[in-house]
C-alpha cells in the first residue's frame, strides 16, 4: 500500500467524520429540536452532530497541513489484515450452517497459518485444542446452546 493511498485513507476518514457530523445534525433537526426550555428528541444529537463536524473539520485541516504521512501498513501487513478479516467473516457466515465446533476448528487453523505458525502439527494442535476448549467452556460449563450445524 503506497504512501498516497494511506494519506487518502486517513484524510478520507476525517472527511467522512465531517460529513457524518453534518448528516447527524440535519437528521436530528428532523426529529424536532424543541426549545431549550422544552428540548425535543433532536436537540441533543443535533449538538453532537455539530460537535463532530467541527472537531473533524479542524482535524482534517491539520491533517492536510501536516507533512507527516508515514505508511501505517505495508503490503504484507495489508494482506494479513485482509485474510484475518476474511476469516472472521467466513466464521460468521458458516457458523450457523456448519456449527460452531467445526467452524471454530477451521478458523483457528486459518488464523495460525495467517499468523505464520510454521508446520502442520502445531496449527493442528492449536486449532484442535481451541475447538475442544470452546466446546467444554460454552457447552459443559456455561450451558449455552450454540448452533451445532451438521453435527446436530
Amino acid at each position: 500500500m503506497g504512501k498516497a493511498a494511506i494519506f487518502r485513507l486517513a484524510t478520507c476518514f476525517d472527511f467522512l467524520m465531517l460529513v457524518l457530523g453534518i448528516v447527524i445534525a440535519v437528521i436530528a433537526l428532523g426529529y424536532g429540536f424543541g426549545s431549550f426550555g422544552r428540548p425535543g428528541p433532536g436537540l441533543y444529537p443535533f449538538f453532537l452532530g455539530v460537535a463532530i463536524a467541527v472537531f473533524a473539520l479542524f482535524i482534517l485541516i491539520s491533517e492536510l497541513r501536516s507533512d507527516n504521512h508515514k505508511p501505517i501498513l505495508e503490503t504484507e501487513g495489508a494482506i494479513t489484515l485482509i485474510l484475518m478479516a476474511a476469516t472472521f467473516a467466513l466464521w460468521i457466515v458458516a457458523m450457523p450452517l456448519l456449527g460452531y465446533v467445526i467452524v471454530t476448528l477451521l478458523a483457528a487453523f486459518a488464523f495460525c497459518k495467517i499468523m505464520l505458525l510454521e508446520g502442520w502439527w502445531k496449527p493442528l494442535a492449536v486449532s484442535g485444542g481451541t475447538a475442544l476448549f470452546i466446546y467444554l467452556l460454552f457447552d459443559y460449563w456455561l450451558y449455552i446452546d450454540l448452533p451445532r450445524g451438521i453435527l446436530g
Binding site: R38, Y44, L48, A51, I59, S62, M115, I134
Partner: protein, 505 residues
C-alpha cells in the same frame, strides 16, 4: 461502627466458593494478561463480560477488578525481566527495573514491587472504603445540573489527557455519545437513527463494540507485528530477598506512590499510566541521588508500581459513587454492572450495599491472593511471556467470536464486533484514542438525561447553573484546565501531563 459491621457482612458474603474462585480467577488471569505483551486489561475485561452473566453482579465486579489490578501486578514482571512492559502502566518500570535486572537484582526488584503493590492495593482499598460512602452520601444531593457539569468536566480532562491531539479525543467522545443515541430514546420513546431497522431499535449493544475496539483490534494489531522472541532471565526463589538497604529505600516511595496513585485515580483519563509518570518524577525530584534514576534506582521501580495499583482503587470511587467511569476499564465495569441490572451511583449504598461491601472485602482477599501468587510464581509467570502470539491470538479470537455471539445469540452483534475491530485498528494507527470513545458510549444516556432535565429545570436559562456552587466549581475547573492548556505554550511551557494513549489501556 456501622461501616465495620457492613464490612464484616461483606467478608461473610465474599467467603462463598463462587466469589473466592472469581477473585482468584480474576487475579490469576489479570497477572497473566499483565505479563503477556499484547492483550491489555481492558480488552480482557471486555472479553470476560459474557462469562460474568452466569453469576451475580458482585461476582462479576470482583472478577473484573481482580483482572485490572492483577494486570498491574503482572505488568512489572516483563518490564523488569525483559525490558518489555506487559501493559501501558508498566512502561516507567522498564527504566530502572531492567537496569536492576542487569545488575543481578531482578529478584529483589520483583519482590519489592509485589510487596509495594500489596501495600498500595491495601491503602487504595482503605481509601475506597472510606471515601466512597462519604462521596456517595454527598452525591445524593446532586441534581441533574451537577451530574451534567461533572460529565463536562470529565470529558474536558479525558479528551486532553488521553490523546496526543486533544481534538481527536474530543471527536471520539462526541462520536461515542452519538452512538448511544441510536435506538428508541427512553425519555420520549422516539426512535432515532434506526432507519427502519428493527435491530437498531434497541440500540447498538455496548459489548460487541468494546470487544471489537479492544479485543479484535488488539489481535489484528499483534497479527501485523513481527514476533521477536524475548530473552527471559531466570529467577530463583532465593533471589527474591532484597537487601536491608533496598528495603529501607523502598518504604517511603511505596507509601508516597500509594497515596498519590489513589488521588490520581480519581481523575478522568488513563489514571494508572499517569500515576506512574507522576510518581516517577516525584521520586526523582525527592531523591538525594537523582542521577541514579535510569540506572537501577529502587525508588523508580517501587514508587510507580505502587501508584498504578492504588490508582485502580481510586478510579473505582467515581464509578461506584457517581456512576461515572473515568477510565476505559471502569467503563467496561459499568457496562457489566448494568448487564446485571445494578446501576452504580449515589443510590448504590442504599439499594445494593451488599454489592459494595462484598466487593471491598473481596478486594482485601484478592490483594493477599495476588501477593501469594506473585512472589513464589514469578519465575513461572515470566515463562508465560515467551508464549508465541501465533498460538495465543487464534484462541483469543475465537473466544471473542463465540463469546459475543453467546450473549444474545446474535450474528449481527458479531458483525458489529468485527467492524469495530477493523475500525479500531485504523483509529489506533491514526492516533485516535479509544478510551474516550467507549466512555462516551457508556455515559451517553446519562449525559442526555442530565442535559434535558437540566434544561427543563432551568426552563432553558442555562445561566442559572451559576446558582449551583458544585456545578459552577466543576465548570470553572474545566475552564481553568483548558485555559492553562492553551496558555502554557504561549509562555514557552509544554503541558506536562500529555500522555499518549497506549493501545493497551
Amino acid at each position: 461502627m456501622e461501616g465495620l459491621g457492613l464490612l464484616y457482612n461483606g467478608f461473610v458474603n465474599s467467603f462463598t466458593l463462587v466469589n473466592l474462585v472469581a477473585c482468584f480467577a480474576g487475579a490469576l488471569i489479570g497477572t497473566i494478561v499483565g505479563v503477556l505483551p499484547g492483550l491489555g486489561p481492558t480488552a480482557t475485561m471486555a472479553l470476560m463480560l459474557p462469562f460474568t452473566l452466569k453469576f451475580g453482579a458482585t461476582t462479576g465486579l470482583i472478577m473484573m477488578t481482580g483482572v485490572w489490578y492483577g494486570a498491574m501486578y503482572g505488568g512489572s514482571t516483563t518490564s523488569i525481566l525483559v525490558n518489555i512492559p506487559g501493559e501501558a502502566a508498566s512502561v516507567v518500570t522498564c527504566l530502572d527495573g531492567y537496569q536492576m535486572c542487569k545488575k543481578g537484582r531482578a529478584g529483589a526488584a520483583l519482590a519489592l514491587v509485589a510487596t509495594g503493590s500489596f501495600v498500595a492495593g491495601t491503602i487504595g482499598i482503605l481509601g475506597l472504603q472510606f471515601f466512597a460512602p462519604v462521596l456517595g452520601n454527598a452525591a445524593l444531593s446532586f441534581g441533574p445540573p451537577e451530574f451534567l457539569c461533572f460529565m463536562i468536566f470529565a470529558f474536558v480532562l479525558l479528551s486532553n489527557l488521553s490523546a496526543e491531539a486533544p481534538l481527536k479525543g474530543a471527536l471520539m467522545i462526541a462520536f461515542g455519545l452519538f452512538l448511544s443515541t441510536i435506538g428508541i430514546n427512553p425519555m420520549d420513546s422516539y426512535p432515532r437513527f434506526t432507519f427502519g431497522s428493527e435491530k437498531l431499535m434497541l440500540g447498538i449493544d455496548f459489548l460487541p463494540i468494546a470487544m471489537g475496539l479492544f479485543g479484535i483490534a488488539e489481535i489484528l494489531s499483534i497479527a501485523l507485528e513481527k514476533y521477536v522472541k524475548p530473552q527471559i532471565n531466570k529467577i530463583r526463589f532465593r533471589d527474591l530477598y532484597p537487601s536491608r538497604e533496598e528495603v529501607r529505600r523502598s518504604v517511603y516511595p511505596t507509601l508516597r506512590g500509594s497515596i498519590l496513585g489513589f488521588f490520581v485515580g480519581l481523575l478522568p483519563g488513563p489514571c494508572t499510566v499517569i500515576s506512574t509518570f507522576v510518581s516517577y518524577s516525584l521520586e526523582k525530584r525527592l531523591s538525594k541521588n537523582p542521577e541514579e534514576f535510569g540506572h537501577g534506582a529502587v525508588e523508580g521501580v517501587v514508587g510507580p508500581e505502587s501508584a498504578n495499583n492504588s490508582a485502580v482503587m481510586g478510579s473505582m470511587v467515581p464509578l461506584l459513587t457517581l456512576g461515572i467511569p473515568f477510565a476505559a476499564p471502569s467503563a467496561i465495569m459499568l457496562a457489566g454492572l448494568r448487564m446485571h441490572n445494578v446501576e452504580p451511583g449515589p443510590m448504590l449504598f442504599t439499594t445494593h450495599p451488599d454489592v459494595f461491601w462484598t466487593f471491598i472485602a473481596a478486594m482485601y482477599l484478592g490483594n493477599i491472593m495476588l501477593l501469594v501468587l506473585n512472589l513464589p510464581l514469578v519465575g513461572a509467570f515470566a515463562k508465560i511471556a515467551v508464549i508465541r502470539p501465533q498460538i495465543l491470538m487464534p484462541i483469543i479470537s475465537l473466544i471473542c467470536l463465540v463469546g459475543v455471539y453467546s450473549v444474545r445469540n446474535s450474528i449481527f452483534d458479531v458483525w458489529v464486533m468485527i467492524v469495530a475491530g477493523v475500525v479500531g485498528l485504523f483509529l489506533r494507527k491514526w492516533k485516535f484514542p479509544i478510551a474516550p470513545f467507549i466512555i462516551g458510549v457508556v455515559l451517553g444516556p446519562t449525559t442526555e438525561n442530565s442535559l434535558r432535565q437540566t434544561l427543563m429545570m432551568f426552563k432553558g436559562d442555562v445561566s442559572l447553573v451559576g446558582d449551583r456552587p458544585v456545578s459552577l466549581t466543576l465548570l470553572a475547573l474545566a475552564a481553568a484546565f483548558l485555559a492553562f492548556k492553551f496558555a502554557a505554550p504561549l509562555f514557552g511551557k509544554k503541558f506536562p501531563l500529555k500522555i499518549e494513549e497506549d493501545s493497551k489501556l
